[in-house]
């Protein structure tokens, strides 16, 4: 097990910064996610750690050793790719044994270790199959076994679940978590899926446009997203500029609501659709009119126009409301998020 430390890591392609000044620590044995939209620099950062890209600036340390100049094949890292990247002309056992053979291990030991790790990933007895004979989920398990069997210092996962269908993805997520905690390997996981990041990680690094936006544990990131970008990426549906801020409060639609405001007046407000109470005749709250609704079974989502707010609000509720009806909206206590305005708010 090893700890990873990145300091000021950058990758420039001409004028374009694919990654710029990326710094974070990964504690030994922990699971860290790099979360962000495509092109945010998360994969570039991963590739620099693996050694496929040379950093333009900054350092990578594993257990205090600077590895910038260590050849990629000597870094002792396990890598799992989105498309599995199994050798198609080798059996499952040969795939898993590939890294052990490079390390000059005795054949008997290789055989033993191979079946041990196939068991760990839940594929005992599949040694003689070829990758093409396995399902996507099984292939990814083989890839995981192949990466882990060399007992890497760090396990790097590049969107390993993205090629799987929804059901399998959920299943593999639990498997990944189980295998990671059983082996206790320090892991860095690249994903654009906030749910994967939240359920798997000890810590999450949110990235955008090559930069680290925020670092925190899943609970912090989910409950207190600090910026509009993070909130939007985590699925906060309503992000808008309020009427005005006061100390410890925010005015929306002519009403005053308590919120932890930091005194800066350029902030935006975030509200999850599930954090808004909606009623046809509420006492306290601001008025709106239902423009559109979508039926989703247990919960319906309504699009509500609110005078004074540039974009309509999304509200999720179990109650049934006709389109065109006048409603009163009220944010739940403590649900108002105050966000750094690091994103353009476009009128819908």
């Amino acid at each position: 097990m090893a700890e990873v430390k990145l300091t000021g890591l950058s990758k420039l392609y001409g004028d374009f910064a694919a990654a710029s000044n990326v710094s974070f620590d990964v504690e030994s044995g922990s699971f860290l996610s790099l979360l962000g939209p495509s092109g945010c620099g998360k994969t570039t950062t991963l590739r620099m750690i693996i050694g496929f890209e040379e950093p333009s600036a900054g350092d990578i340390f594993i257990d205090g050793e600077r590895i910038n100049n260590v050849k990629p094949w000597l870094r002792d890292l396990g890598v799992v790719f989105q498309n599995y990247a199994l050798f198609p002309y080798m059996t499952v056992a040969e795939n898993v044994a590939f890294g052990l053979k490079r390390r000059g291990m005795a054949p008997a030991e290789i055989k033993h270790r191979t079946s041990e790790f196939l068991e760990l990933v839940g594929l005992p007895g599949k040694e003689d199959r070829f990758p093409r004979q396995l399902s996507g989920g099984q292939q990814q398990r083989v890839a995981l076994a192949r990466a882990l069997v060399i007992e890497p210092r760090v396990l790097l996962l590049d969107e390993p679940l993205s090629n799987l269908d929804a059901k399998l993805r959920a299943e593999m997520r639990f498997e990944l978590k189980r295998i990671q905690s059983e082996t206790g390997v320090t892991s860095i996981f690249v994903t654009h899926d906030q749910e994967e990041a939240l359920t798997l990680s000890d810590r999450i690094v949110v990235m955008n446009q090559g930069e680290v936006i925020t670092v925190g544990n899943p609970k912090e990131i989910w409950e207190k997203p600090t910026s509009a970008f993070v909130a939007d990426f985590l699925g906060v549906e309503n992000i808008f500029a309020p009427d005005s801020f006061e100390s410890g409060a925010v005015n929306i639609g002519g009403n005053r609501f308590a919120a932890e405001h930091d005194g800066q007046n350029d902030r935006l407000v975030g509200l999850r659709s599930t954090d808004i109470e909606i009623s046809e005749t509420g006492a306290s709250g601001f008025a709106g009119r239902v423009r559109q609704s979508s039926y989703r079974g247990a919960i319906n989502t309504y699009v509500v126009d609110v005078p004074g707010i540039s974009r309509p609000l999304y509200v999720s509720t179990a109650s049934d409301l006709p389109i065109g009806s006048d409603v009163v909206l009220k944010p739940r206590e403590g649900a108002i998020l105050i966000l750094e305005p690091d994103m353009e708010i476009t009128a819908a």
Partner: protein, 283 residues
């Protein structure tokens, strides 16, 4: 395919088919028939072939043909892999330059190419001048009008076939496979032999069969660079036909070449079909 579409295909293909039958198939069959007709007497016999196989000139030419082809195949593989790798991995600009250099010999007539090699390898050629000039040798080396010159010339001509065969398969390699191998501790040479070669095997075999059979049946380059004292089969056939006017031996050599050629086509189809099937099963 519907019956109508099938008929259309036949109609479209008819002129070309007639052309091929009249100008290729019939002459080939006539040639085979000739080769089976003994000089003395009538009826069909293998007499011409028997005479041919006994002759030491033919044996030497056959051996030379095979040796040249093996060398050319080896050399095009050795040169083809690096070129194909560079061409597939480099920037599009570099790729264009490499491909133009590789394809260029295609565009030259065999005579021009052979003359070029004479300038380089001849007694007063560039190589000999240089070696004598730096005092490495006293007398010019015999680099032309021999088997060596044929190998050099044929390698030059046939290299594009190998490069193009390899390029098509190299471009299809999933780069993540190389990345995975690297992360597992494989250095670049190991990656080449353990990942690139297995994945490019179909293209490699296609290229090898192509180069070998084209080298066996080439005429102009071996004729111009090898000279009359080191004939390969094709040159021998020419000598029998036009220098010695021994048509029975010439047709027999042609028969041997025809059968060898067909053999390669069948072998190639068989091997590539197998590889295709494997590749399909794998994907």
């Amino acid at each position: 395919m519907s019956a109508g579409a099938k008929r259309e295909t036949y109609i479209i293909g008819a002129p070309a088919s007639v052309w091929l039958i009249v100008l290729l198939v019939i002459p080939c069959l006539y040639l085979l028939f000739q080769s089976l007709t003994p000089l003395s007497g009538s009826g069909l016999s293998l007499e011409n072939y028997a005479n041919l196989i006994e002759s030491s000139t033919f044996q030497k030419a056959l051996r030379r043909s095979v040796i040249v082809s093996i060398w050319v195949t080896i050399l095009t593989v050795l040169a083809g892999y690096p070129i194909a790798l560079v061409a597939s991995r480099a920037s599009s600009r570099t790729r264009t330059i490499v491909m133009v250099i590789v394809i260029f010999p295609f565009l030259l007539s065999a005579v021009v190419r052979a003359y070029g090699w004479t300038v380089i390898l001849g007694e007063n050629g560039v190589v000999n001048d240089f070696l004598v000039g730096i005092g490495l040798i006293d007398e010019p080396l015999k680099l032309i009008q021999n088997t060596f010159a044929i190998v050099v010339g044929e390698t030059h001509v046939l290299l594009p076939y190998m490069v193009l065969s390899l390029l098509t398969v190299i471009q299809r390699i999933d780069r993540n496979l190389e990345a995975a191998a690297m992360s597992l501790g494989a250095s670049p040479p190991v990656i080449f032999f353990k990942v690139v070669v297995p994945l490019t095997l179909p293209g490699l075999l296609t290229g090898m069969l192509l180069v070998f059979s084209l080298s066996m049946t080439a005429f102009a380059t071996p004729f111009l660079l090898g000279g009359p004292r080191s004939p390969i089969l094709t040159v021998l056939m020419y000598q029998y036909a036009y220098t010695l006017f021994d048509w029975s031996k010439a047709t027999a050599v042609a028969g041997v070449l025809l059968i060898l050629g067909l053999g390669f086509v069948i072998l190639h189809r068989f091997v590539s079909r197998r590889l295709m099937r494997d590749a399909e099963a794998k994907s």
